[in-house]
């Protein structure tokens, strides 16, 4: 994987390389380098299969990490491209013209993380949630507990326990 990284580096300014396994590496990229690198990997290096496109919310750094994972069947290797985009007004270029299936991933990211992909087909249509008007729920600052307390009523007569506290008492009854 290191060879491929060096080869790519001749053409494109690349960030950090993380070799996770012999056949899996992650490369950090700048936003504007994504399309040329994706096309290079697909057309010249045989990374023809888009495995996943997903996001990670780094709330403390105020950015989203987008991960594009590509797979090459001929040499059984995978490359993950990591991009950091600002969390406020998060927008990214759509790649549905390179992989049509990316439109579904982008629609989900729009709904769950609020990342916009202008030009992506049906990106603003409801995907999984219907009539959602809260902040996008997969963002780290969305509080699931608060949401469920506000939305759903407690069933009467039901005892709730904090799992961590319950296990602590069960495993260490003397408080050791």
């Amino acid at each position: 994987m290191h060879e491929l990284y060096e080869k790519l580096k001749q053409y494109y300014p690349l960030g950090e390389l993380t070799e996770q396994r012999n056949n899996l590496a992650f490369i950090t990229l700048k936003q504007e380098q994504l399309r040329p690198v994706l096309l290079h990997l697909r057309d010249k290096e045989n990374y023809t299969h888009l495995v996943i496109l997903t996001a990670v919310d780094w709330l403390e750094d105020n950015c989203f990490q987008l991960t594009y994972l590509l797979s090459n069947r001929t040499n059984a290797t995978d490359i993950g491209l990591r991009l950091m985009i600002p969390r406020d007004n998060a927008t990214m270029e759509s790649i549905h013209d390179i992989w049509p299936t990316a439109a579904t991933y982008q629609r989900e990211l729009r709904e769950m993380f609020g990342i916009d992909f202008p030009e992506s087909p049906r990106v603003n249509e409801d995907f999984i949630l219907e009539g959602w008007n809260d902040i996008p729920p997969y963002r780290r600052d969305f509080d699931t507990l608060k949401f469920s307390e506000e939305t759903f009523a407690q069933r009467p007569g039901r005892e709730t326990k904090d799992p961590a506290e319950h296990m602590k008492q069960k495993l260490y009854p003397d408080g050791a």
Partner: protein
């Protein structure tokens, strides 16, 4: 040869590329396929626009099963996620357990013992058999043959008995946990498994005669729902859907995991890429899994460690990192993308189910110009399980 008009340009498109469909013209009708089905496509629906009995547009709608698994896992410790993951796929839950466990082990630097890996492989192959049996019933049901699902449900139940005696549970086994597996094989398990496998083979022989050699089934499935080989990569097609078109995508061979390098098998390939070929590839795959279970029981060591040493699960912190682990489930490539940040909770878990691509972009493309009566057959032939889409 009878005149066949080219339907690919119909209806006409507007300037923005969308279809020019005027519902008030009386030419078109909206029809909902689902979310309840007699087949086994699960709770998803396709919004069809039909002209006569021909589909001109199909839009997949999901969201009937969303429980927010990925988000739930971010607020749970690594071991608390383990009973959640299996619920992402009902008919074949074990791949979630394996992929999650393998991803956690990789980031935590733990290696599962060899004996546990043999049991993991056994469980995965048993799950594959179950999933294919369920599929066979659904595929036959979608073409009006209800009896096949009763036969396959019977033998699937026998396999569930084997699961029950091995794991204590029939559907959600919660057996493959980070570090190894929960228990060893019970006394006399191999013998009882052999009896179950013989029963499955006998039933599949009957299914072959009744379903695969049936003139009506052939007439309705041969040449229908063809996936073009050129679409395989652009639409992320994997598993039997790809193998039926002659593309030998099989993670067990491409990136061998667990003990698959020690087992003898070759990916089952088809040529025609239609509904019938996909059904036949799955039937042969099922029989291959029966053979693999026999190989595993014959080759696996009789004793060994079940669990690697893992830290106290209540205080288990995993250093910052990210990885992707995949396996070949009955529908194609199943994978887990796990990101950790050094805390006691996963930062992000993303599940890659094969249905995500098969049931959305691919189905919406393939459904156009199909007869309404064939829609159910096509949906089942892609072998989709909607919880994988909405996680």
């Amino acid at each position: 040869m009878a005149y066949q008009p080219d339907r690919s340009q119909y209806p006409q498109k507007k300037a923005d590329g969308s279809l020019d469909i005027d519902l008030t013209s009386g030419k078109y009708l909206k029809l909902w396929q689902g979310p309840q089905h007699p087949g086994i496509t699960g709770n998803m629906s396709v919004e069809l626009t039909v002209c006569g009995d021909e589909v001109v547009e199909g839009i997949t709608h999901v969201g009937y099963l969303h429980r927010g698994f990925e988000k739930l896992m971010e607020r749970r410790t690594f071991i608390q996620c383990f009973p959640i993951v299996c619920r992402i796929c009902v008919p074949e839950p074990d791949f979630n357990e394996y992929c999650y466990a393998a991803a956690v082990e990789e980031l935590a630097g733990i290696e599962a013992p060899e004996y546990a890996n043999w049991i993991r492989t056994l469980i995965l192959e048993m799950g594959r058999i179950n999933s294919y049996l369920m599929y066979c019933g659904g595929q036959a049901g979608s073409f009006g043959m209800g009896v096949i699902s009763q036969w396959t449900t019977y033998v699937r139940d026998l396999m569930l008995d084997r699961f029950e005696e091995l794991t204590g549970a029939r559907i959600y086994h919660m057996f493959i946990l980070p570090g190894g597996v929960r228990d060893r094989l019970p006394e006399g398990f191999a013998q009882r498994m052999e009896e179950t496998l013989c029963e499955i083979e006998s039933t599949m022989s009957d299914v072959y005669d009744t379903m695969y050699c049936n003139a009506v089934f052939k007439k309705r499935s041969v040449g229908v729902g063809v996936i073009d080989v050129d679409l395989m990569d652009s639409y992320g097609v994997t598993g039997p859907n790809a193998r039926a078109g002659g593309v030998a995508k099989d993670v067990r061979k491409d990136q061998p995991y667990l003990v698959y390098p020690e087992l003898e098998f070759e990916p089952i390939l088809g040529q025609d890429s239609d509904i019938y070929t996909r059904a036949d590839v799955r039937r042969q795959d099922l029989l291959q899994s029966v053979d693999l279970v026999r190989q595993i029981l014959a080759k696996m060591p009789k004793e060994g460690a079940l669990m690697a040493k893992i830290p106290s699960v209540m205080h288990w912190k995993i250093p910052r990192g990210e990885t992707y682990v995949r396996g070949e489930c009955s529908r194609g490539e199943y994978g887990y993308y796990l990101v950790t940040d050094g805390s006691g909770y996963p930062r992000r878990v993303n599940v890659r189910g094969p249905s995500y691509t098969h049931a959305m972009a691919l189905l919406e493309r393939m459904i156009v110009n199909l007869n309404i009566a064939d829609v159910a057959g096509l949906m089942v032939s892609l072998h989709t399980y909607p919880p994988e889409i909405e996680r």
